[in-house]
Subunit: 229 residues, 2 copies
């Protein structure tokens, strides 16, 4: 299948569209206009039409989008129909949270097994997923098709484990550590979930809002005092 | 302090600059040129100069950036010097991971306490942080200054808990649920960590790479066979 190059920002919006379309389908809504969808997502209708036009035409003038058809198309674009297989490295709190609560299959991925160094859980199954020893990782990767690895190890072992993964043919890593595991020029596909980066963006926006409020209040004070005089 | 409006993309890059500058400082490097820094981060020197110019001039022609001074400035811009206070709602695996492993104070935030419904942990301290009953949440928010709430509850209670938070004056939420908790027009500041959105971006890029490889191989096959004839 020939694919079209799509901008990062569009790709980042696709999962949001998908979640919204799932919610609409759950509500029994079978079609939606670009303006309605835009309103629900805080996007302009033209932005939505533009985003979807990257992948061909779904909407019909005056009809809007077929919720199920659009959802299926977006899922296909995101690779959800490809049955990717994954391994999880590091069964700490984050790893455990993913094994217990994150439904990989709902997003088209199969979590084959997890790896850890803790003899207390090696050999056990957590939520049906076997936990193996890190010593078995290389052999497992050599003898199984694994499309992506979930990296949930402590920061100080992130780069060491990344080396083992790439040496054994892993080309994509979902990185939950706070470490930049790949050089910019590396062919490795890395999707980072840097918690601290996310928190700092939040504190930036809080600071921005507080400063705006402070500036507004200062203006009001000046106006009051000048009105008095 | 008057602040400058900065684009989202710049704000998203600031925490990466911060982490890199911390690494450089740890290596004893006291200054760096925009081209060196760009190379390390996969950005062009002009993009880096442009990013920093939003906040005034740090670099010196031919000297580069003072690592410590630039780091301090970025930390200030991100609000790390403001001592924000936070509460954590939901002490499941994710909540626990944040309490055990995420150093809020390193990013300028103080985690005051956590709230949960599990009587087995209510009243206990985890990593020094007290866990209180959800029943106490409203009262606590009324009698304490809380700048942000970390939402790590199950998806199905995300909106209910968000309502309690906003009704009690919370204006910013760090959202670990997979639910869109605020309408686009809401004044609530929300920073989402939607795990599934992140995974789907990764599977998109994997699919894109696999399709490119398949297309390249198909071309080579055609060339071979046409060479034979």
């Amino acid at each position: 299948m020939k694919r079209i190059k799509v901008s990062n920002n569009v790709i980042r919006r696709l999962p949001r569209y998908l979640r919204r379309l799932d919610e609409l389908a759950a509500q029994g809504i079978s079609r939606i206009s670009s303006s309605e969808l835009g309103q629900q997502l805080g996007l302009t209708p033209s932005q939505i039409r533009q985003d979807f036009s990257c992948f061909g035409e779904f909407g019909q003038q005056g009809y809007g989008y077929n919720v199920t058809a659009l959802r299926e198309e977006i899922a296909r674009i995101l690779g959800m129909d490809r049955g990717y297989s994954a391994v999880l490295i590091g069964v700490g709190n984050i790893g455990r949270a993913l094994m217990d609560n994150f439904c990989f299959s709902a997003w088209g991925c199969k979590l084959l097994c997890a790896f850890d160094v803790d003899s207390g859980i090696i050999g056990k199954k957590l939520n049906g997923i076997p936990v193996r020893s890190m010593d078995e990782l290389s052999a497992f990767l050599k003898s199984n098709t694994v499309d992506l690895a979930v990296l949930a190890v402590p920061n100080d072992s992130a780069k060491k484990v990344t080396a083992i993964l790439t040496e054994n043919g892993i080309e994509a890593i979902w990185n939950f550590t706070n470490v930049d595991i790949a050089a910019p020029e590396s062919p490795l596909i890395v999707e980072n979930l840097h918690f601290s980066d996310s928190l700092l963006s939040l504190t930036y926006y809080i600071s921005d809002k507080k400063d705006e409020e402070a500036a507004r209040n200062a203006r009001l004070e000046r106006q009051k005092s000048s009105a008095k005089n």
